[in-house]
Structure formats: C-alpha cells, structure tokens
Symmetry: none
Amino acid sequence: MENEKAPRGPKFRRRADARPDEVLDAALELFIANGFAATRVEDVARRAGLSKGAVYLYFASKEALLEGLVRRAVTPIATQALEQLGHFEGDPRIAISATLRMVATKLVDPKLIAIPRLIMREVVQFPELAIMYRNEVLNHVLPVAERLIARGIAQGYLRPVDPELTVRSIVGPIALHLILAEVFQLVPEDGLAMDRLLENHLSILFDGMSLPGGSK
Amino acid sequence: MENEKAPRGPKFRRRADARPDEVLDAALELFIANGFAATRVEDVARRAGLSKGAVYLYFASKEALLEGLVRRAVTPIATQALEQLGHFEGDPRIAISATLRMVATKLVDPKLIAIPRLIMREVVQFPELAIMYRNEVLNHVLPVAERLIARGIAQGYLRPVDPELTVRSIVGPIALHLILAEVFQLVPEDGLAMDRLLENHLSILFDGMSLPGGSK
Amino acid sequence: MENEKAPRGPKFRRRADARPDEVLDAALELFIANGFAATRVEDVARRAGLSKGAVYLYFASKEALLEGLVRRAVTPIATQALEQLGHFEGDPRIAISATLRMVATKLVDPKLIAIPRLIMREVVQFPELAIMYRNEVLNHVLPVAERLIARGIAQGYLRPVDPELTVRSIVGPIALHLILAEVFQLVPEDGLAMDRLLENHLSILFDGMSLPGGSK
Amino acid sequence: MENEKAPRGPKFRRRADARPDEVLDAALELFIANGFAATRVEDVARRAGLSKGAVYLYFASKEALLEGLVRRAVTPIATQALEQLGHFEGDPRIAISATLRMVATKLVDPKLIAIPRLIMREVVQFPELAIMYRNEVLNHVLPVAERLIARGIAQGYLRPVDPELTVRSIVGPIALHLILAEVFQLVPEDGLAMDRLLENHLSILFDGMSLPGGSK
DNA sequence: AATGAATGAGGATTCATTCAT
DNA sequence: CATGAATGAATCCTCATTCAT
C-alpha cells in the first residue's frame, strides 16, 4: 500500500503521490493569506518544497491550482454527505442544534472556511468555481437541511415556515458573525465567543426574541 | 441614461469638477465587475470618458482609487446616521421590521452592497479599507441597533437576549441570502424573493420556528 | 527705456520681456540641481512663477530650454572677450597669475561653472551644445591665452613650451580641484581652500616642483 | 571580436555565471554612450544577448545596474592598490613620470575613464555612487600619491609644496586634456597627442614654465 | 498672453509559463 | 521527474506637449 520498494531516486520521495496534495495545501494557505492574484506560482512551489517548474508537472496553470483546490474540497462532500441528518428521527430541533454547534465550531478553524472564502473572493474572475461548489456542495447539503425542516413541520415540531428560506435564518447569523470577525475584526469583547453566539442564536431561532406574554 | 453624450469636444473638456466622482463611479463598476487586480487603470479611464493619464490628475495611484471609493462611501455615514432608530419610541419590533425591510430592499441594488463586497474581496491586500469601513460605518450603525434592542428588552418588549449578538441574528439571514444569490446564484425558484425571505425571517426572528404549543 | 507706459494687464508684468530670462534662470537652477532628465517642465514653470503652458510660449521644447541656456551664456563671450589679455604688455606671468586668480575665484560661484557642468553632463544627449560652447567660448578664449604664452616665450619670459598644451597645465589643476570638490566632495581639511591651491599651483607652474639645486 | 556568436540555442542558454558581468558590460557601454536616463533596460538586455526580464534576474532595478557597475569597478582597487608607489625608493619624480605616463596612456581607453565619467554625469541623481567611488578609490589612491610627494620633499628632491594640493597640479592637466577632447572635441591638430601633452606637462611640472635665468 | 486640464507615447517592472538540461 | 534560467506580454505610472478657454 505504501510502495514498499525502497524509496530511492534523486531525493526521497513521498509515497504514491502526495505531491499534488502538498502543492494544493501550499496554494490554499497562500491564496487565503494573500489572495489569488497576489500569490506567485513560485511562492506556492517554494512552500510546497519544490521548484516552480515542478508545479506545472501537476497543474497546467495557476488557475488550475484554484480549480484543483475547490475540486478537492468538494469531492468528498457528495459521497460523505450528512445523510444521517435526513434520516434523523424525532425532534428536528435537536438535530439542528447539534449540527449547528458542530458546524460552527468547525468553521472557527480557518482551514475550513478557506474554500468558501476563496470562492467568494475570486468568484468574479472564476465564476465556474462558484458553480462547481454550488453543484457539488450546496446542492447536496441544503436540500438535506430543508428536508429536515420540512419533516419537523410535518411532524408538528415546527411552525409552517418556508424550509428553503429558513435555512438562511439558521445559518445566516453564524456566517455574518464570522464575516464581521474575519473581515472587519469586529468581535465581542471576550473574543469570537462562538458559544455565546450559538446559544443566543438558537434561542431566538426556536423561540423568537419576543417576550411570550410580553407587551405585544 | 448612461453616457448622455455630454457636449464636449473630441479631446478636451474643462473640468466639471465632478471628474473625481465620475472616475470613482467608473472604478466602482469595474472593480465590482472584475475585481481590483483585473481592472486596468486605463479601463477606468475609458469608462469615465477620459485618458489614462487624466486619472492620475485626480488619484495618485490605482490603490488611491480604491481608498477614494471607500472614503466616499463612508464619509456621509458618520454625519447622516440612523439616529432616528435610536430615538424610536414604542415597540422596537416595528422599527426593526421597518428598517430591515427598507435595508433589504435597498441592498438588492448592486450599487449599495458594492462597497462592502469590494472590501470583503480586497481586505487581504488592503486591510486598512476594512478598518476604515469598520470605524466609520459599522461602529456607528451597529451600536444604534444594539441600543434599540436593549431598550426593547428594558421596556418589556423583548426577551433578555444579548443585543450585540442578536444583531447578527437580525441581519445575518439577509446577508446570507444575498451571498447565496450573488456568489452562488442560488435563489428560490421565483427569483430572489426578498419579500418572502423577509416575512419568513421576521416571523422566526420574533416568534421562533417552534410551534408554540407544539410537541416539545 | 523701461516701458514707462504704466504696467497694466491681467497681472503686473515685468518690463519689456524678462520672461524668457526668468524661465532660463529657473531652468538653470533646476538642471544643475537635478539634471536635465529629472527636471520637469512644470518644475521650471513653477519656479519661474508661471504656468506650464506659458513656458511653451517662449521655448518650443524642453530641449530648447537647454539650448537657450547655453546660447545665453555664450553670446556675451564672443563680443566681450578677454582681449586685454592678448594686448597685455610685459611679463605674461603677471597676466596669467591675475587672470587665474580672478577666474578661480569666480568659478567658486556655482552659477558660473553651471553651464560648463551642464554641458559636460548632457553632452551625450545633446552634442550640439558642446559644439556651440566650443565655437563660441573656447575657440575665442583659448587662443587668447595661447597667444599670451607664445608672446611670453618670444619675449624671453618663458621657456619654449607648447602654448596650446600649456593652457591645460595652467587651467587643469583648478578644474580638477573643483571637480573633486563638487563631484566627490573631496576638499582639504580647511574647506575648498582655493587661495592655497592657487598659490601652490602658480608656484609649481612657474618654477616647477623640483628643488632648484636639489639632488637631481 | 564582439558578439562571437556564442554557441547557444535560439532561446535558452544555461548561465555561464558570467551573465551578470555581461549585463554590466552592456550597461556600461550604453550608459556611457547615451547616458543612464536615455538607456532602456531592454537595450541593455538586447546588447547583453538576453531578454528584458532576464536582466532582472541579476539586478533588482535599473539603478542597481549603475551601482553594480561602480561596485565592480571599485572593488579591486582597495585590494590591488598602487602600494609600490608608496614604497618607491629614490627620486620620486621618476615614479611620478612613470606613473603619469602609464595612467595617461590607459585613460585614453574609453573603458577606463568610463566609470568616473559616468559618476560625474549621474552624481546629481545618485550621489551615493560618488561617495562609494571616493571611499573605495580616491581615498586609497590619492594618499599614496601624497605620501610620495611628501617623501620627495623630505628627501630633498622636491621643493616644499603642499602634497595634497600638488596632486591636483599633477593630474589636473591630464584630466582637462581629456575633458576638452571628449566633451568638446578640442584636440591638437595632430590628434589627442597625449604623449606631447605629457612631456610638456612634466617639464612644466618639474621645472616650471619660467625661463631659469630669463628676464624675471 | 496665460492657464492648466487632458492626452498618450514611453519605459520600468512583474510574473505566468516554457524548455534545455 | 525535476530544475530554474529565460522569455515577453501585460500594466502601472510619468511627463512633454497640446489646446480650449
């Protein structure tokens, strides 16, 4: 499995071919840190530990790096999928809470929002990236969430909201919180406070911000 | 409506003094359409109806165009201000609804989200733009909203939510809806449907998505 | 003589037309200070107190400024001339000493070497300037000096040196002294010390540096 | 002799490592012929037999070419040095004559005065070049000559002249002769006649132009 | 005569991409 | 496979010159 034939060659080489992946790793870091335009192919090469020319052995162009990045991030989704969510039994609010907590926690890791952020930034130059991401990720994930909501309504757990639009209400606050923090460095006094945001958001999401018996 | 074929000689025109503004208008359109890096100064010039060199009569560099753009967008805010919101009397949910409807409707106009979008895209290259926008706009607008919420709580209209974080819950869904539409071209079947989104969102925002007496 | 008609016009104007001269003054200062290439026509205009366009009323091009500068400096020479030198009676060493002292003292004023320096610098770009200077100045002045030397020889004051080449021996040390000072900032400890240089130079020039009865 | 049609493919050639030197050679020729400002980097590249971009592999900027040129010319001096002059035994006039003849002969080669000429021309734009040349060359060479003179005085060969200023008297005439020739194309009828100049100059330098027992 | 806004050719520099080795 | 020297298109910016006012 690991190419037991002793690794000999001009210089030690990784197994099979981790090279393209290493190049993508390097590219992702630099694209995120400096933007696509401001990143030189040579920078990517250096960070990946090979030469400028070698990058072109794996990727036909600088743009292909971007595409490869998105493709790599996108591929597992379609197969993996959060199918469990769709088959979840019982109160969907529990699934929503759990998933949202999980998602939000993960998104705090810059590596994970990296691809969506990259796409948002480069979409004008390379619209096909956004299309790919939509087809491979959003079009798989969003419907699952929508079905969960729909079932929650059907089963009497939720009010009759519009599932498609309600997904925006569920995820939007988290997205905005991250944008304000990352782009504008606008965070609460005690830091990102994603936990507090989640609790505040979930409570509003499920029960609204109105005072139940309040002056209404 | 655009390019009214202003009465000017083939080559020269006395400055209308609107020139810098015209250049910024051109720059904004192109920066939004193609990104900062992919826009050539000459493109801006041509669209503004003058020559490459003339742009440099008004702006010292290409980057100065970007800064000028943000500065122009930002300046009126500090003075203008949505103070009325802060002084609003009575049920704050009415103010929130009205404002949100107003804001969401306006944001559909690409010209209005242009600057924030531009900043989101170029923030890595020019972080000072984001800082400027934060200081001049967000730091003025967000506190007003927070005070409105705080007062709503104090006056018994709202549950004791965290005002700062709740602003994310109020605005986030709209932001995400626009991002999905603009970046990923993900819109409901009947189009952007901002009205429907707003109603769905406001109803969840105020009353939650749980069925009041529902199986809970 | 001074255009007694009251000076009226949009703005006070100098008599007759000092304008071209003022422009040349400005140009000379800037060309010397920054070089021809690094001086912008607008700089010249501003220093001369008029607008860029106005410069072109007097001079057809930037290059014409340079030419005008040299022409102005050169014109008086041909007429003025140091004819007295040629007609000088008696020991020519007295004339040489006196003239050299006078010249050296004057050359310390940057304004006076300005033109030769300018020509030396720009000669590759504008060889005609050097030609003009040679024809109008050097070809008038050098022969006078040569005749003085020739007569000194004929009259038994001087050894039979080559008059043409000896002019280099007379003027060269002063030229080099100025170059070392201006270009390389190499001056004696007590400053330019032109007086000391002159005395040292003249004593060598007339009597040599050998010790007369010295070990020879 | 120039451009030996080096055996290289139409487009590529492995670095001979002489590349930077070849580029400097090209730059020197062009800078001397046309001046720094009037020389395009592409001209230098073409003359060196490579492309515009390749120049930037070796020199960070056009200005770096100039600096590299001076640095290259200057480096050997400090080590090399004319120390023999300082240690010369016996009549210093012999050393002076020999050295001056050698120097003057060499300086007729345009390649050798190239650097000082370049510096004289560009000193206004790049004063650090002159400083570098002064520190690395003049400050090493001039003191040697001064010491030689001082010793000549101490040993009774020379009159008590000022060594520092006398160096001007020794070298100045040659410098002026070259300037008149190169800048103003003023040469004796029989050409540059450096030999004749030297003999005339040395005879005056050592013995003065006065007729010894002459009418004085 | 004077102004200064406008022009546009010119040139330095960068960097994706190629290819001889 | 890998290298990195070399290429040259692309683009920012400068500034001499023009000309409507």
